[in-house]
C-alpha cells in the first residue's frame, strides 16, 4: 500500500503489488468499470476507521481499489476523505470520466495530474455522448491532458481491451500550471508533488503533519498557506478545464431527452408527489408485502420453524449428555427466545437475509435510475422542519422495512447531527415491517378509525421529537446539496453486483454481533434476569393501564419487536388497551439487534440516550392515552 507516498514517484516504477485506484465523479460508471477490470477475488470492506465501503480486487499485477465518487480530491465529507487517502497512496489511477459531463469531470482529472499521479483516463458513456449530440475529440483530449485517454461504453464492455492494455502507460505530465503556487509554501518543506498540491489547496491534515525543516508544524495554525489560496488554485484549474473543453468538445445539438422530461415531472411537486407515492407504494408492496410477509413467513414459519428448529433441537438434545452442568449450555444454544442455533439462525436466515437483499435491490434500482436524489428534492422541505435534509428520505423508507438495516443507511444522510436525528427517529417511532404485519392484524379487529389514530400519533411523535432534537442538538443542519444525475433505465447486472456486495458486507458485520447478543440475552434469561425485569416493569404497565402480563410483552419487545406485537394477540384486552398497547410497543425501544447496530454506528452515549428516550416517550404517550381513554386501573 505504501511505496511512493512519501518519495514521489513516476509511472515506470510500477511493480507486482502496486495499487491501482479507480477514481471518478459519482455516477460516471465506476462500478461497472470495476466489474469489467476486476479479475478473481473481489472483497468489500469498510475503509479502516470509517463507515465508507471500498471494494478491492485483482487486476493483472495490480491491486485494484474502487473509491467513493467525488468531484475533487479534498476533505469536505467522509467519502472525500477516503478517496483522498487512497489516491495519496495509489501507484496509478484509472480516472473514469463521463463524456457527457467533461466540464464537470475534468476538474478532478486535472487535479490528479497536478498531483503528479500516473493516470489513464477512461472516457466512459461514449454512447450517451453520441446520442446526445456531444462530440468529443479523443485524440485532442489525450494531447491536451498528456495522458492516455481510452473511450469506453462500460455497460457494453466496449473499449476495455484497449484500457487494459494501456493501464501500464499511466503517466502524468512532468509539470503543470499549479507549480507557480508551490512558491507559497515554506522553502524548507519536504513534500511530494501530491502533498504540495493539496497543501496549496489548504489541506489541513497534511498541513498538520507537514515536515518544515525538521520541525513538525504542529500546535500552531494548521494552514501553511493563506486560506484564500484554495479558491485561487481552484479558479485557475477551472479556467484550464474550460479551455480544454472548448477545444475538444463540440455540441452539435441539444434536445430534451425522455429522461429530462421525466426528471421535470419527478421534481415538480404536483406531478412528482403522486409519482413518488406510487414508487414508494411499489417498494412497499415488494418489500413489505411480498418479501417481509409472504417470503419471510414461508421461510421462517414453514421451513425454518417447522423443519429446521425441531431438527436442531433434537440433534443438540441427542448430542449433549444428560447432566446438570450441560443444561445451561443447552439453554444458550436452543432456547425459544433467542437460542443461538435456533431462533437466532431462524431470524438471520429467515427474516434478515431476505429483507436485506430486497432492500439493497430496491435501493440499487432507485440509485441507478436516478430516482433517489429526486425523492430527496421532493422531501427536502418537509424534512428540513425536523432538522434533516432530503437525503434522510432513504433511512426513513428503509426503516419501515427493517430498522436494523436502516440504521446503516443513515451513513448517507450527511453530517453527524443529521445521522443522530435520523437514527433517533428510526429507533423511536418507525415500526418495522415484521412488527407492522402483526400490528395490522390486531388493528383490523379494531376498525379503521384506530388505524388512523395510530398513524396520526406516530407522525405527531416523530414530528415533535424531530423538532425537539433539531432545537437541542448543537450546530445547524446542512442544507441539501446534491447532484441530479441523468435518469436512465437501471441495468440488472450492475444492481445485482452491488446488492451482492452490500448484502455480503452487511451480514459479515451483523452476524457476529447478533451471535454475541443472542448469547448474552440467553444468559440473562437463564439466570432469571428477564423475569426480574418483568417484575420491575410493573409500575410502568399500570401507568399505561395494562395488565401485569404486558410486562412480558415488553420484555419480548426488548428482544424482537414483532414478538411483542404477536404476544398481544393472545391477551384478553379491551379495544382501548389493544390500541394503547400497540402504540406503546411501537414507540418502545428498538429491538436488541437494531440497538446493537445503533451502538456500533453511533457513540455509546447517544445510543443510551436514545434507548432511555424511547422508554420515556413510549410510557409518556401511553400514559396520556390511558388517561384520555380512562382505562387506568
Amino acid at each position: 500500500m505504501d511505496g511512493c507516498h512519501d518519495a514521489g514517484c513516476d509511472a515506470s516504477e510500477i511493480d507486482a503489488d502496486s495499487t491501482l485506484a479507480l477514481v471518478g465523479c459519482p455516477n460516471v460508471g465506476k462500478s461497472v468499470v470495476f466489474g469489467e477490470l476486476a479479475e478473481q477475488y473481489v472483497d468489500v470492506s469498510n475503509y479502516p476507521g470509517t463507515t465508507v465501503d471500498t471494494t478491492l480486487a485483482e487486476f493483472g499485477d495490480y491491486q485494484l481499489t474502487d473509491t467513493p465518487g467525488v468531484y475533487g480530491i479534498s476533505a469536505f465529507d467522509e467519502e472525500e476523505r477516503v478517496t483522498r487517502e487512497i489516491v495519496l497512496e495509489a501507484d496509478a489511477v484509472v480516472n473514469v470520466v463521463d463524456a457527457t459531463h467533461l466540464d464537470r469531470d475534468l476538474f478532478l482529472t486535472l487535479q490528479l495530474l497536478d498531483m503528479g499521479i500516473p493516470t489513464v483516463v477512461a472516457l466512459n458513456m461514449m454512447d450517451e455522448a453520441e446520442a446526445g449530440g456531444i462530440d468529443v475529440d479523443v485524440e485532442a483530449l489525450e494531447e491536451a491532458l498528456g495522458v492516455p485517454v481510452v473511450p469506453t461504453v462500460a455497460i457494453d464492455g466496449e473499449g476495455f481491451d484497449e484500457l487494459r492494455e494501456r493501464v501500464p502507460e499511466a503517466t502524468a505530465p512532468e509539470s503543470t500550471d499549479i507549480e507557480a503556487y508551490y512558491e507559497e509554501l515554506p522553502d524548507e518543506l519536504e513534500a511530494s508533488r501530491r502533498e504540495k498540491t493539496l497543501l496549496v489547496e489548504g489541506d489541513e491534515d497534511l498541513a498538520r503533519e507537514a515536515d518544515v525543516g525538521g520541525v513538525m508544524a504542529d500546535g500552531g495554525s494548521p494552514a501553511l498557506v493563506d486560506p484564500g489560496l484554495r479558491e485561487e488554485v481552484y479558479g485557475q484549474r477551472r479556467s484550464r478545464v474550460q479551455s480544454i473543453v472548448d477545444s475538444v468538445q463540440n455540441v452539435t445539438r441539444t434536445d430534451e431527452s425522455i429522461g429530462d422530461r421525466l426528471s421535470d415531472l419527478m421534481i415538480n411537486p404536483l406531478t412528482g408527489t403522486p409519482i413518488a407515492l406510487a414508487v414508494l407504494g411499489l417498494i412497499y408492496y415488494f418489500i413489505g408485502d411480498l418479501v417481509a410477509q409472504r417470503l419471510v413467513d414461508k421461510l421462517e414459519g414453514e421451513i425454518l420453524a417447522a423443519h429446521y428448529i425441531p431438527a436442531v433441537e433434537s440433534f443438540v438434545g441427542g448430542l449433549l449428555p444428560e447432566a446438570g452442568w450441560i443444561e445451561p449450555i443447552e439453554f444458550l444454544l436452543i432456547n425459544d427466545n433467542l437460542g443461538l442455533l435456533t431462533v437466532t439462525v431462524q431470524y438471520i436466515v429467515g427474516t434478515l437475509l431476505p429483507l436485506v437483499i430486497a432492500f439493497y435491490l430496491a435501493i440499487g434500482v432507485l440509485e441507478d435510475s436516478g430516482v433517489l436524489p429526486r425523492l430527496a428534492v421532493l422531501t427536502d422541505r418537509g424534512l428540513n422542519r425536523i432538522g434533516l435534509n432530503g437525503r434522510a428520505v432513504v433511512p426513513m423508507i428503509v426503516g419501515v422495512g427493517c430498522v436494523t438495516m436502516a440504521v446503516i443507511t443513515t451513513r448517507m444522510v450527511g453530517s453527524k447531527r443529521e445521522r443522530t436525528i435520523s437514527t433517533a427517529l428510526l429507533g423511536l417511532g418507525i415500526p418495522c415491517s415484521a412488527q407492522l404485519g402483526v400490528i395490522m392484524g390486531l388493528m383490523a379487529g379494531l376498525g379503521l378509525i384506530y388505524w388512523f389514530g395510530y398513524l396520526g400519533i406516530l407522525l405527531v411523535v416523530l414530528g415533535v421529537a424531530g423538532v425537539f432534537l433539531d432545537r437541542t442538538l448543537p450546530g445547524e443542519s446542512e442544507a441539501l446539496v446534491t447532484e441530479l444525475p441523468r435518469m436512465r433505465i437501471p441495468r440488472p447486472g450492475n444492481i445485482l453486483r452491488k446488492t451482492y456486495n452490500r448484502a455480503k458486507m452487511f451480514l459479515r458485520e451483523a452476524i457476529p454481533l447478533f451471535a454475541v447478543t443472542a448469547l448474552a440475552i440467553s444468559a440473562l434469561d437463564y439466570v432469571g434476569g428477564l423475569a426480574a425485569i418483568q417484575d420491575g416493569l410493573r409500575p410502568l404497565t399500570s401507568l399505561v393501564g395494562m395488565p401485569t402480563d404486558f410486562g412480558q410483552i415488553l420484555v419480548l419487545g426488548l428482544i424482537r419487536r414483532d414478538f411483542a406485537a404477536a404476544g398481544m394477540t393472545d391477551m384478553a384486552l379491551s379495544s382501548a388497551q389493544v390500541f394503547i398497547g400497540l402504540v406503546v410497543i411501537t414507540l418502545f425501544v428498538p429491538c436488541i439487534l437494531a440497538m446493537v447496530m445503533i451502538l456500533k454506528e453511533r457513540d455509546a452515549k447517544s445510543a443510551i440516550l436514545m434507548w432511555l428516550g424511547s422508554w420515556v416517550v413510549a410510557f409518556g404517550v401511553g400514559g396520556l392515552l390511558a388517561a384520555a381513554f380512562g382505562v387506568i386501573a
Binding site: 481552484y234 477551472r238 426528471s263 432530503g390 442544507a479 446539496v481
Partner: protein, 79 residues
C-alpha cells in the same frame, strides 16, 4: 439588499456571485457553477432550487438558496 437565489424563478438564467459558506463555495467552484451563468430549472416553493450548468444539475436546499447572492444578466448575455 441584493437578490438571492431563492428569489429566482424557474427558467431564469443568473450568475452566482457570492456564496458565503467557504466549503459550499469551493464545491460549487469545483463543479463550474461559479463560471458564467446558471439556469434555474425549477424552484420548489419554500424548497430546493435546481440549477443547471453545462448539463450538470444540482439541487440546493432552501436555506442555502437564501444565502447565495445572484446577479441577473444585463440585457442579452446568457450561455
Amino acid at each position: 439588499m441584493s437578490e438571492v437565489l431563492a428569489d429566482v424563478g424557474s427558467g431564469e438564467s443568473v450568475q452566482l456571485v457570492d456564496v458565503p459558506d467557504e466549503n459550499t463555495r469551493a464545491r460549487l467552484l469545483r463543479l463550474g457553477f461559479l463560471d458564467g451563468s446558471v439556469e434555474c430549472r425549477h424552484h420548489i416553493r419554500k424548497g430546493p432550487v435546481i440549477v443547471r450548468h453545462n448539463g450538470t444539475e444540482l439541487a440546493l436546499g432552501a436555506a442555502l438558496a437564501e444565502e447565495i447572492e445572484i446577479e441577473r444578466p444585463t440585457a442579452e448575455a446568457s450561455d
